[in-house]
């Protein structure tokens, strides 16, 4: 696999005029239908290019691992408040897949923190939008188009982010529940309460090796001691068997949850998005994991011939409520894998934008349905 060491080298590869599949560390290649183009890893285009803690802004090359950026920010008591899966994930890959983790409930996704972006077009030309200040309406927000675009509108080179002070303390309050549905309902109750959790994750029993229970309801809490204590007190009134994991003790659990997206490569993983209180009725029985309050659930279907049909049915039901269901990943080599509902045609403008940015389909073709 080619790994350009400079932007010029990357541009030279693109100018060869052959389709490329730009990747970072390749932690999310299981997402989407897949690209047959030559993979080009941009992970050597890495490093923090500007960071002034007093400005709460950090600029970083797309090949940088998020973990490396966080380590640098942590030295100044700050962080980029996102917690997507995979320790090796790069900034560019996280942006391109709009990858997020449990704490998005409180802090949002990459879309909410990205304030500027430099990208390379299929002809090797470099353009930018946004800037290095936290609030900026100078020019169109073209960088928004690249978040979740799977690299189909350009190779991401450098991103600028708003960062925040790190919370003093963090904890996970874990409830053992009798069923996934019970866990989901319990967390909706927390969502509607005056409490301000940073994460609400309902999960079937698959993390038994960490915490026993048929299903888990996990409440993430961050802040000062009085805020944590308030949460502990009020969560106690919800009853049930529960454990409180503070600080580092919660990390194995968070890591396990974050990595669930890749955990089961033997299934067809369907993402359901809906309004938070509509979600429970859209999640069928079976293996499931929900980001309660956010409105996202992921379910696993057996990779059989009717997976496609079932996913489409889920989409139809969800669409009736303003939601959707799409396949996120499926076992390689499964029959008719390409025909799974990986997405649905959006507004014609999406195709027009892609056509205009990449008329010959040179960039990450196949990674996403447009």
């Amino acid at each position: 696999m080619r790994e350009p060491a400079t932007e010029d080298e990357l541009a030279a590869i693109l100018r060869e005029g052959k389709p490329v599949h730009a990747v970072g560390n390749g932690t999310k290649l299981h997402l989407g239908p897949g690209s047959e183009a030559e993979p080009v890893a941009v992970r050597r285009l890495a490093g923090v290019t500007a960071y002034e803690p007093g400005d709460l802004v950090a600029c970083v090359r797309a090949g940088t691992r998020l973990a490396d950026l966080q380590a640098e920010l942590a030295r100044h008591g700050q962080w980029l408040p996102i917690d997507p899966p995979y320790a090796e994930a790069t900034i560019g890959g996280i942006l391109a897949t709009n990858s997020s983790g449990p704490r998005r409930l409180a802090y949002g996704t990459m879309r909410d923190h990205l304030i500027g972006l430099r990208v390379m077009g299929p002809d090797g030309s470099v353009t930018r939008s946004g800037g290095r200040v936290v609030k900026n309406v100078t020019g169109y927000d073209l960088h928004k188009l690249h978040v979740g675009a799977f690299g189909t509108l350009g190779v991401l080179l450098e991103a600028n982010f708003k960062v925040r002070p790190r919370p003093e303390l963090s904890a996970a309050v874990v409830f053992a529940c009798a069923s996934f549905r019970e866990a989901h309902q319990l967390l909706l109750k927390v969502h509607a309460s005056p409490l301000r959790p940073v994460a609400l994750e309902a999960l079937d029993g698959r993390l038994k090796h960490l915490i026993d229970g048929k299903a888990l309801a996990i409440v993430g809490v961050e802040g000062t001691r009085p805020v944590l204590d308030r949460h502990y007190r009020e969560l106690e009134t919800l009853g049930g068997k529960r454990a409180v994991l503070e600080g580092e003790r919660a990390e194995p659990l968070w890591t396990a949850i974050r990595n669930l997206p890749r955990g089961l490569v033997d299934f067809v993983r369907v993402r359901i998005g809906a309004k938070p209180f509509d979600l429970p009725r859209l999640v069928p029985d079976g293996p499931a994991w929900a980001q309660v309050g956010t409105g996202i659930a992921r379910i696993d279907l057996p990779p059989t011939a009717d997976a496609s049909k079932r996913a489409r049915q889920l989409h139809e039901t969800a669409a009736g409520l303003g939601g959707y269901a799409v396949v996120e990943s499926a076992p390689p080599g499964m029959p008719d894998r390409a025909k799974l509902p990986w997405g649905f045609p959006g507004h014609a403008l999406m195709r027009a934008i892609r056509q205009s940015r990449d008329p010959r389909g040179m960039l990450n073709y196949g990674r996403m349905v447009v």
Partner: protein, 496 residues
């Protein structure tokens, strides 16, 4: 009213960017008569004067007519008629904009003032569909019984509309903690520039496909007209503490800002008000501001009540360590409301000092605040103008307000030069041209100081996909290729 010959007042850059109207305007006016009842169209020059500019008055022109649609279907029908007659059009909210974004040079204006209904509040899911003409503050007031509010709170929120906020990606004091408009828009129903109706985004998170909602927000009305807006609602904070920190030098106040953030505190808002503004505001609003202070910081912490006292104490300590001479904590909601009234009505009060004002809103890295404010003081002296500073210090979003009397010979030249130098300074320290007011036509000439031609070409490409015939608010937000070079910049408005 006595009729007079009307001459538009347009800066060179506006004349360069906005193409002349060449379409069938009588045909469009005839179409309007079939589309809307007489009380919902304005065509007489006397009445059109009310629509010649927004709150930025350097550029003024008369629209062809103003239409007052009430529904999406009416907007779509009017836009289709504009397409058929090849006449440009633009949407206008409350006209509180500060960059000339709604100046209509012979174009048809679609006022959203009759599209002011809150259509559906889904309190448990914290979202609401609203029409574009809903006033920002009215929305938050209507949500109060649900314990929710709409977070972006521009200073003009008592008048400005959600549709205008979407067009400009508006901010406000509390965006420091809660983000700007784009962070609070989930979906949009848009009448596209060709008159078709599209739904962008929606109530569910992480919709597959490109983020058209994200790129539409802040497109200054050049991508289409939002006719229904799905906003994210934010739970009201359980508690709020508001601190007024009083400083004897502006420099110390700036250091107070960075010190608060350096201590790991993220307040909901940090606003700075300088002496000139304090003296204009206090006699009128009686907010409790000291008129002898060089500057004050208005700092707000909010959230769960459990650690709010502690947060307020840490803010007080940070300010005291930067030589605040006094730090007051608002003792009740009434005092808090008074302080905020003083801040939010500051621009209006500055009108007591001079009949005209001109404001920029460049954003700078927060650590550059001391040197930039110092330099603005020198620019003020050099050009013999009066500048007041009242701004979102926590975001580094400056609002230098240049006060003047347009009847004074030669003053407009000096005001513009001072403005030019402030923006050059913003560019020099790595800042952004506009934090929340938008580019409109007023800042078009400066775009090249912040973006390269290739960057601007990408922006035009995307705009032209939304707006291929350039009928929807033409000439705004992004300069035309090859237009508005440095030569256009300092030219006086014509028509004076």
């Amino acid at each position: 009213m006595k009729q007079r010959a009307y001459t538009p007042v347009l800066t060179q850059v506006a004349r360069d960017s906005i193409p002349p109207v060449t379409g069938d305007t009588p045909g469009l006016l005839a179409d309007l008569e079939t589309l809307l009842p007489p009380e919902r169209r304005v065509t007489s020059p006397d009445e059109l004067f009310a629509y010649e500019c927004d709150a930025q008055t350097f550029d003024r022109a008369l629209p062809l007519a103003v239409a007052f649609p009430e529904t999406t279907e009416e907007v779509a029908a009017i836009v289709r008629a504009c397409n058929k007659r090849n006449v440009p059009f633009l949407a206008r909210g409350a006209g509180t904009g500060l960059s000339g974004g709604v100046v209509a040079v012979g174009a048809l204006v679609l006022s959203t003032s009759r599209m002011n209904r809150i259509l559906e509040v889904d309190a448990p899911n914290r979202q609401a569909w609203v029409q574009p003409g809903v006033v920002n503050l009215h929305l938050s007031r209507a949500l109060a019984p649900h314990g929710l509010h709409y977070a972006p709170d521009p200073s003009s929120q008592y008048a400005c509309t959600i549709g205008g906020n979407v067009a400009e990606n508006s901010g406000g004091p509390h965006t420091l903690k809660y983000g700007v408009t784009t962070n609070h828009i989930l979906g949009l129903e848009v009448v596209m520039p060709d008159g078709s109706v599209a739904l962008l985004g929606g109530p569910a998170p992480d919709l597959p496909g490109y983020d058209l909602t994200g790129v539409f927000v802040g497109s200054e009305g050049t991508f289409g007209i939002a006719t229904r807006i799905l906003v994210r609602l934010t739970p009201n904070p359980e508690g709020v503490k508001t601190v007024l920190a009083i400083f004897d030098t502006v420099l110390d106040a700036c250091r107070g800002v960075t010190e608060i953030l350096a201590r790991g505190i993220l307040p909901a808002a940090i606003e700075m008000i300088d002496q000139r503004t304090l003296r204009a505001v206090e006699p009128y609003i009686k907010a409790g501001f000291p008129m002898d202070a060089a500057a004050v910081l208005l700092v707000e912490a909010d959230g769960l009540v459990d650690d709010l006292d502690d947060q307020a104490r840490r803010i007080v300590e940070a300010c005291t360590s930067m030589k605040a001479r006094e730090v007051r904590l608002a003792k009740d909601d009434e005092e808090r409301a008074r302080l905020w009234k003083g801040r939010k009505q500051a621009f209006g009060c500055l009108g007591r000092l001079a009949p005209n004002y001109y404001t920029h809103d460049g954003v700078i890295p927060r650590t550059k605040l001391p040197e930039v404010l110092d330099e603005i003081g020198r620019i003020e002296a050099r050009h013999r103008v009066m500048i007041a500073n009242v701004f979102h210090a926590g975001d580094g979003n400056l609002h230098p307000v240049i006060l003047y009397d347009e009847r004074e010979e030669g003053v407009i030249d000096r005001v513009r030069q001072a403005g030019d130098e402030i923006l050059a300074l913003v560019a020099r320290v790595g800042g952004g041209l506009s934090g929340e007011h938008g580019i409109g036509i007023e800042k078009l000439a400066y775009m090249k100081d912040f973006f390269g031609e290739a960057d601007l070409a990408e922006m035009r490409k995307v705009r032209d996909l939304f707006n291929p015939r350039a009928l929807c608010n033409p000439g705004k937000a992004v300069p035309a290729a090859g237009a508005c070079g440095p030569a256009g910049r300092n030219k006086l408005p014509v028509g004076h």
